[in-house]
């Protein structure tokens, strides 16, 4: 009953990418609606997705191409769709994927003076970055909501959880970081 | 030149008092304008005395910006231009301190003083080095030369009809009832004057110099603290002086202080109400506007003046 047009998903090998895009474009998928990247860290691959739209028959194709994380390079599509320059510029900045022949590669789009690894990659640790680059306000009281979970009904543990902690939040966060293997989100819940 | 020769301390004191009064009145009008605009826009608006507070606050502030001598002098030029033009114009005929240093030919001097303030501003803004200010100066100068054309034409018609270059003489010629006001005696030249007055007051659609959304906010971009306060007072007295000039030329002058205040207020509000309902012209559209209909009206006004003079003789 609810339809989103006719959406198909397909993947293509890197060698056939340009040909497939041209094919789809000749088939009526003339609009490049979105170009984006998913980082499959455990597979060691990036998946670049091109979302193409047919504005006449209302069809949508999500065309994915997997490329290795070690050599992230792709041909540009900015000669077909001019606005892809911006997408490619941003992906280049945020994921470190290089687009052959695209203008504005390496030109900062959002970040300024960025020295670290590209920030949208999965292995970029935001908590570590913020601990290294920013300082806690002295006297800052950390309220970790995870301490409430499962025992909010208990009056005493509720007041315990709100007890201001004496230790320095900065050290605690660093300790958390060392201890937590996969949980990179720990202790950051109150930061934003 | 009689008044100029009769200078004494008391007279100067009266003049100083009248300048201060004019600045205060200009600021009050500014406050009323903000209130009126707010009401048009269904807002409550600031209190009418807000400009006094603004100016007082600005005068108590100091700046550490260094741009050069001309940058500092520009607000002074502007204010001096305002005071000069104000002192030349008789506000209330025959009242010491408000009668002005009227003499034959002072109309021309007044026009020069109007240019003088703006030129000083232009030099100062140029030295501030801000590109917005420079764009605004080029806009302002081109707009100024374009609205001075219909204004001068209206003035020529007026002078031709009255036969004197003195503001006092022009006022005397209009004495004796509303029908003698030049606005009704020669409506064509009056319309040219009214339209060019819109350009002079720089409310929209002719506020291309300040143009907050385009080149914020033009020449005063780099100004702050005392300089901005000085410019605000300069603008206040300039507005009063221009309205008074218009009142003298086209609305028959004033014989008492309340009459002068009312007439100045009405003339001021004419520009404000037009500004309330129109967006801003582009720079070249504004220039073209003044060179089209107001100029034709001015020329027709001269023709009408000649005709009337011919018929009268």
């Amino acid at each position: 009953m609810q339809s989103d047009g006719w959406m198909t998903q397909e993947t293509v090998a890197l060698s056939g990418l340009t040909r497939r895009l041209e094919e789809l474009r000749g088939d009526g998928h003339v609009q490049l609606t979105l170009m984006t990247v998913t980082d499959w860290l455990e597979d060691g691959e990036f998946e670049v997705s091109y979302i193409l739209t047919d504005p006449v028959l209302f069809r949508t194709v999500i065309l994915g191409v997997r490329i290795p994380r070690e050599t992230p390079e792709l041909p540009t599509v900015s000669d077909i769709w001019p606005q892809a320059v911006t997408y490619e510029q941003e992906i280049n900045e945020m994921f470190g994927i290089r687009f052959e022949g695209s203008p504005r590669q390496g030109v900062p789009f959002i970040l300024e003076g960025w020295k670290d690894i590209p920030p949208m990659r999965r292995d970029f640790d935001t908590l570590k970055y913020s601990v290294e680059h920013y300082e806690d306000r002295p006297g800052r009281r950390s309220i970790d909501t995870r301490r409430f979970v499962g025992r909010v009904s208990d009056e005493k543990s509720f007041t315990d959880a709100w007890e201001p902690r004496e230790d320095d939040g900065r050290e605690r966060k660093l300790a958390d970081m060392d201890g937590g293997a996969a949980g990179s989100d720990r202790g950051e819940t109150t930061d934003e | 030149m009689q008044a100029v020769l009769n200078l004494d301390i008391g007279y100067l004191g009266l003049c100083a008092l009248s300048v201060i009064g004019a600045i205060a009145y200009g600021l009050l009008i500014g406050g009323i304008i903000r209130k009126v605009m707010a009401r048009i826009q269904s807002r409550i608006g600031p209190p009418v005395w807000q400009p006094y507070l603004d100016v007082a606050k600005l005068f108590f502030q100091r700046t550490s910006i260094r741009h050069g001598m001309m940058f500092y002098l520009a607000p002074v030029f502007r204010t001096v231009g305002g005071i000069g033009i104000y002192l030349l114009i008789p506000i209330v005929a025959g009242m010491p301190g408000l009668a002005g240093f009227s003499f034959n030919g002072d109309v021309l001097l007044v026009i020069y003083f109007m240019f003088f303030g703006c030129l000083g501003m232009a030099l100062g803004a140029g030295e501030s080095g801000h590109p917005h200010a420079i764009i605004a100066v080029s806009r302002g100068l081109s707009q100024m030369s374009s609205y001075e054309l219909p204004f001068s034409l209206a003035l020529i018609a007026l002078v031709a009809q009255v036969g004197t270059f003195s503001i006092g003489g022009i006022i005397e010629a209009q004495a004796g009832g509303i029908g003698n006001w030049y606005l009704f005696m020669n409506p064509l030249a009056g319309i040219a004057g009214l339209l060019s007055f819109l350009g002079m007051q720089m409310y929209s659609p002719f506020n291309i110099v300040l143009a907050p959304q385009e080149i914020p906010i033009g020449p005063p971009t780099e100004y702050n603290s005392t300089f901005l306060g000085l410019m605000m007072s300069g603008r206040a007295i300039f507005g009063v002086a221009k309205s008074a000039l218009f009142m003298n030329l086209f609305l028959g002058g004033a014989t008492s202080i309340p009459e002068a205040m009312i007439k100045i207020f009405v003339v001021y509000m004419w520009a404000v109400f037009v500004g309330a309902v129109f967006p801003r012209f582009r720079a070249e559209q504004s220039v073209r506007f003044f060179l089209r209909w107001p100029t034709w009206f001015g020329l027709a006004g001269i023709a009408l003046a000649m005709l009337m003079k011919h018929l009268a003789s």
């Binding site: 009953m1 609810q2 989103d4 047009g5 959406m7 998903q9 003339v30 490049l32 609606t33 979105l34 984006t36 990247v37 998913t38 997705s49 979302i51 739209t53 504005p55 209302f58 949508t60 999500i62 769709w81 001019p82 606005q83 911006t86 997408y87 789009f109 959002i110 920030p119 949208m120 935001t126 990179s184 989100d185 934003e192 | 605009m37 048009i40 826009q41 269904s42 590109p131 420079i134 764009i135 080029s138 929209s204 659609p205 506020n207 291309i208 907050p212 959304q213 385009e214 080149i215 914020p216 309330a276 309902v277 129109f278 967006p279 801003r280 012209f281 582009r282 720079a283 070249e284 559209q285």
Partner: protein, 375 residues
């Protein structure tokens, strides 16, 4: 374009980021000859908060307070799209109750109304006409009051969540919303009079900011920009979602493709939104659940998958590309805001030959919104 002020030297000018004429925290670097722009580059990055990265580290329900911050004037589209993407991937989209669909559509349309009111006021506001923007902001405030009543918040509602909506309509909400709509309708003729019949506005808007129709497919433009070219393209009609198929409306088009045509489209869309809201208030089912029983907030895991969902915002096509990987967090969310194309590629392409006076009104006309460019 007049070359009255033609000089050989180019002026280098930053238009923003601190500039009253710029729509938000962005800047355009310009090279001018006289008053005419030779070329320009859009710069963003003053507002980057890394929403997409933040969402990768939060559970699904924790993402909702984040997404609504992507668009200040119209946050509901973001909430709806994230909810829809997660529902589709989690396989509960078809179970969303009927009443929730109606309330969602009502919210989306109210958000469109509020945003359109604001941008139409901004259109003349950028040209220095004071009253219209102020009236429009007042009217928008009345709509925000309705939102406050509905969700408890004025700007960021966090009202649409996966499974439905957060709360039912309050008692007597229809009557009060109807009153708001009447207030807006009473003021609209004033706005027509002061804006569309205003000679100065017509002079400045007609023929300025022309977008050629062949750029539409090339750059995948959407929204009022396309509809002002006479091309009836609207996500609500083309990819019908929620209860839009059951409502009676036509896609509004105008001819001319300039700033005036776009303003006309927006003006008529205000009337359209009011009409749609009235239809929804009349046809909405009065009873029934407004939300599914939500999957566990802390432990809902969505199987691996990806989807692209879209909706019509006031600016054009808003899209969310959502990837999940079987955990309780999203793998990747990419927000496709219409301004990403309109504010960067299209604006840069339109800049050469534009007069500097028209730049801010052009940006309002394209409705560039920096938060959705940098996300």
């Amino acid at each position: 374009m007049s070359n009255d002020y033609d000089v050989t030297k180019e002026t280098h000018l930053w238009f923003g980021p601190q500039h009253p004429g710029v729509t938000g925290n962005m800047s355009v670097e310009l090279w001018l000859k006289g008053d005419t722009i030779q070329r320009g580059i859009t710069h963003v990055g003053y507002l980057h908060r890394g929403f997409e990265k933040l969402m990768e580290r939060r559970t699904f329900i924790q993402s909702f307070p984040i997404v609504c911050r992507i668009c200040v004037p119209e946050p509901d589209t973001n909430e709806y799209l994230l909810a829809k993407g997660l529902e589709q991937l989690g396989g509960i989209y078809d179970d969303v109750p009927e009443k929730a669909r109606w309330i969602r559509t009502l919210t989306l349309e109210m958000a469109r109304l509020a945003a359109t009111l604001m941008v139409l006021g901004g259109q003349v506001g950028s040209m220095g006409l004071g009253p219209v923007p102020q009236w429009m902001m007042t009217l928008r405030d009345y709509v925000l009051d309705s939102f406050e009543e509905l969700s408890g918040h004025r700007i960021y509602h966090m009202y649409i969540v996966y499974g439905g909506v957060r709360r039912d309509l309050p008692e007597g909400f229809e009557g009060r919303l109807e009153k708001t709509l009447q207030t807006i309708e009473e003021r609209l003729p004033w706005i027509d009079r002061l804006m569309f019949e205003n000679d100065v506005f017509r002079k400045r808007a007609i023929g300025i900011g022309y977008v050629p129709p062949e750029w539409v497919d090339e750059m995948s433009l959407s929204g009022p920009i396309v509809r002002a070219m006479g091309i009836p393209r609207d996500v609500r009609k083309d990819y019908p979602y929620e209860v839009y198929p059951e409502l009676d409306f036509d896609v509004i088009t105008e001819e001319g493709s300039d700033m005036f045509a776009r303003a006309r489209v927006r003006r008529r869309e205000i009337a359209q939104s009011i009409n749609l809201i009235r239809q929804m208030l009349a046809d909405m089912p009065k009873d029934g659940p407004f939300c599914l029983k939500l999957p566990s907030l802390m432990h809902w895991r969505i199987p691996k998958g990806q989807t692209y969902v879209r909706a019509e915002a006031s600016r054009g096509e808003f899209g969310y590309f959502v990837v999940t990987d079987g955990t309780d967090k999203v793998r990747r969310v990419n927000v496709r805001g219409p301004s990403y194309v309109h504010g960067v590629s299209l604006l840069e392409r339109m800049l050469p030959g534009t007069n500097i006076s028209d730049l801010s009104s052009l940006m309002v006309s394209l409705q560039t919104c920096p938060p959705e460019i940098e996300r």
